[in-house]
């Protein structure tokens, strides 16, 4: 099985979010970038397939040279090779179009992407990629088993789970549950050394155009101070009469 794991390069979850250039650009100053958490679960599941069932695992990112440390980290975790499509990511559609070319050229059977990236929270790349390549698609996937050409998936739905069967080629939008938190791997020294020798291929983009454009950013209005109360009657009264929440 040939697996491709899509890796988006995102600010660490503790990052303070600021903007520059008249609130049109995300301020990357002092921000630490990491593998998108949803992709880390997917990558770890891919390692399981590689080790237990025999599979090759490539990782891919659409982005500039600054994303290479993130791809190297994925190699250190155990991916066989990495691909960087050399163009800034501008929107979900443009990224999906670039990825579709990589998927078609590489003949991948299984593409593991994340439910959403925690930066722009588009939640669009995996579905669009499936649509563009004609692959089957399972979103918010929390369990994935593959047997030959058949896959069994569990999807998180509002208030429960849905079990489905499908076939390869398949794209999933994955998240926690694909593997447990405790299964995530921190790259060790040997992994980091080996990653330096693994191929990181830079490919030129097809030049797909975006369909959406972030014009400007803003931060939520600052919150008023909390009202502290010291008894539950007062709380119920405020929730009922002031907030109209109960």
């Amino acid at each position: 099985m040939k697996i491709l794991v899509c890796i988006s390069h995102v600010p660490d979850t503790t990052s303070k979010i600021n903007f520059t250039d008249g609130d049109t650009q995300f301020d990357t100053n002092g921000v630490q970038f990491v593998i998108n958490p949803n992709d880390e679960f997917g990558l770890t599941r891919a390692m399981w397939f590689k080790e237990k069932q025999g599979a090759s695992v490539d990782v891919v990112n659409v982005g500039g040279p600054e994303t290479e440390p993130t791809l190297r980290k994925a190699l250190a975790i155990g991916a066989d090779s990495a691909i960087r499509v050399n163009t800034p990511a501008t929107d979900g559609y443009q990224v999906a179009k670039e990825l579709a070319k990589v998927v078609q050229d590489g003949g991948y059977d299984l593409v593991i992407a994340g439910r959403e990236s925690i930066d722009y929270n588009g939640g669009m790349v995996p579905g669009m990629l499936a649509g563009l390549t004609g692959a089957n698609f399972v979103n918010t996937c929390i369990s994935l088993e593959v047997d030959g050409n058949t896959a069994t998936t569990i999807r998180e739905i509002d208030g429960g789970k849905e079990i489905a069967t499908t076939s390869l080629p398949l794209v999933i939008g994955g998240q926690k549950g694909l593997v447990e938190e405790s299964d995530l791997r921190i790259p060790n020294m040997r992994g980091i050394m080996m990653a330096r020798k693994k191929p990181l291929n830079v490919v030129e983009p097809t030049g797909a155009a975006a369909e959406t454009k972030a014009i400007s950013f803003e931060k939520p209005a600052p919150k008023g101070a909390v009202k502290l109360v010291d008894n539950v009657d007062e709380l119920i009264d405020l929730l009922h009469n002031e907030a109209k929440a109960i």
Partner: protein, 321 residues
């Protein structure tokens, strides 16, 4: 040219989010000087849609759409959009709608903006405000394609009742092969409120010390008709199921009321629950960061306060229903 909205139903009843997106579609239609058309798939009585601004309902009844099937649903909605000549298509951000939207975008060669928080700032150019960086910021986003898809965040617009009635037409679709992904079974707790559907969410963290102490949380949820949720470490420790984990890497919560008990208020937790309207914190540490993000707070021991609060809430509910 009308604005098309996919109105999701369950067992023949439109969800509250369906009525919200219907109200919202009507809002956009008014801005554009056109009408709002709903597409319903094996839906029920359309009176409630008419009462939320919908002029016309395209009713799709099809056995192949009996189980949820994202790609078949996307095809059906795309055909309705084409038949109507719709330039703007509105969906909610339920799990199923989020699953359909990117597939629909490819079907229609339409640009898609998700997590939108209100009416467009302008319709030409078409600019919407959406959340980004998991609620830490907003992005004003222009959709540049001819056909546009908007995913409206829950509770971002609210309901607008009108006195209208919707004309209902049957709409036939041609789905082709729908065998791609086959649902085998659904595992859903029917006696519990889902976090995504809940108006009130009662959430607890590591301050509760152990899974055996969740009875009082379940009780509060029961009294309030609320969903239960938890912080990430609580689900990682196996005290609560993964489906209850909320926050940046868990489920998003956009409830009317979010009650956080024994949760410190880490940035990753707050990011996921920030778009809830009213936030209440119960924590014994006055320095807990959650107090800075909350509307109301009680500093004190959850094991003392929650049982008292439950008693009073019960009495309040009895007196007010």
């Amino acid at each position: 040219m009308s604005v098309l909205v996919y109105t999701e139903s369950e067992n023949g009843t439109y969800k509250k989010t369906a009525l919200e997106v219907a109200s919202y579609a009507k809002g956009i239609a008014d801005m554009m000087g056109t009408t709002a058309t709903a597409v319903a798939i094996n839906g029920g009585d359309t009176i409630s849609l008419g009462a939320h601004g919908i002029d016309k309902v395209l009713n799709i009844t099809n056995d192949a759409l009996g189980d949820f099937n994202a790609s078949a649903f996307a095809k059906a909605i795309a055909q309705a959009a084409k038949a109507e000549g719709a330039k703007v298509i509105v969906l909610s951000q339920s799990a199923n709608a989020k699953y359909i939207a990117p597939l629909l975008a490819i079907e229609l060669e339409a640009g898609y903006a998700s997590n939108v928080v209100g009416l467009p700032e302008s319709t030409s150019p078409f600019v919407v405000k959406r959340t980004a960086f998991t609620n830490k910021a907003f992005s004003n986003t222009e959709i540049t394609t001819d056909v546009k898809i908007v995913g409206l965040g829950k509770n971002a617009f609210g309901l607008n009742e009108t006195s209208g009635a919707a004309a209902t037409e049957d709409f036939a679709v041609d789905l082709g092969d729908t065998s791609g992904v086959k649902v085998q079974s659904i595992d859903k707790a029917t006696d519990k409120v889902a976090i995504a559907d809940a108006e009130i969410v009662v959430s607890a963290g590591r301050g509760l010390k152990g899974p055996e102490n969740w009875e009082m949380i379940e009780e509060m949820a029961d009294i309030l008709g609320a969903a239960t949720a938890c912080s990430k470490p609580v689900s990682d420790l196996g005290w609560r199921p993964h489906g209850e984990h909320v926050g940046q890497t868990g489920k998003p919560v956009a409830a009317n009321l979010y009650i956080a008990i024994g949760i410190s208020g880490a940035i990753q937790h707050l990011a996921g629950i920030n778009s809830s309207k009213t936030k209440v914190v119960i924590n014994n540490d006055p320095e807990a960061p959650f107090f800075k993000a909350a509307d109301y707070g009680i500093v004190g021991d959850a094991f003392e306060i929650v049982p008292k609060l439950n008693e009073k809430l019960k009495a309040f509910k009895a007196a007010n229903s």
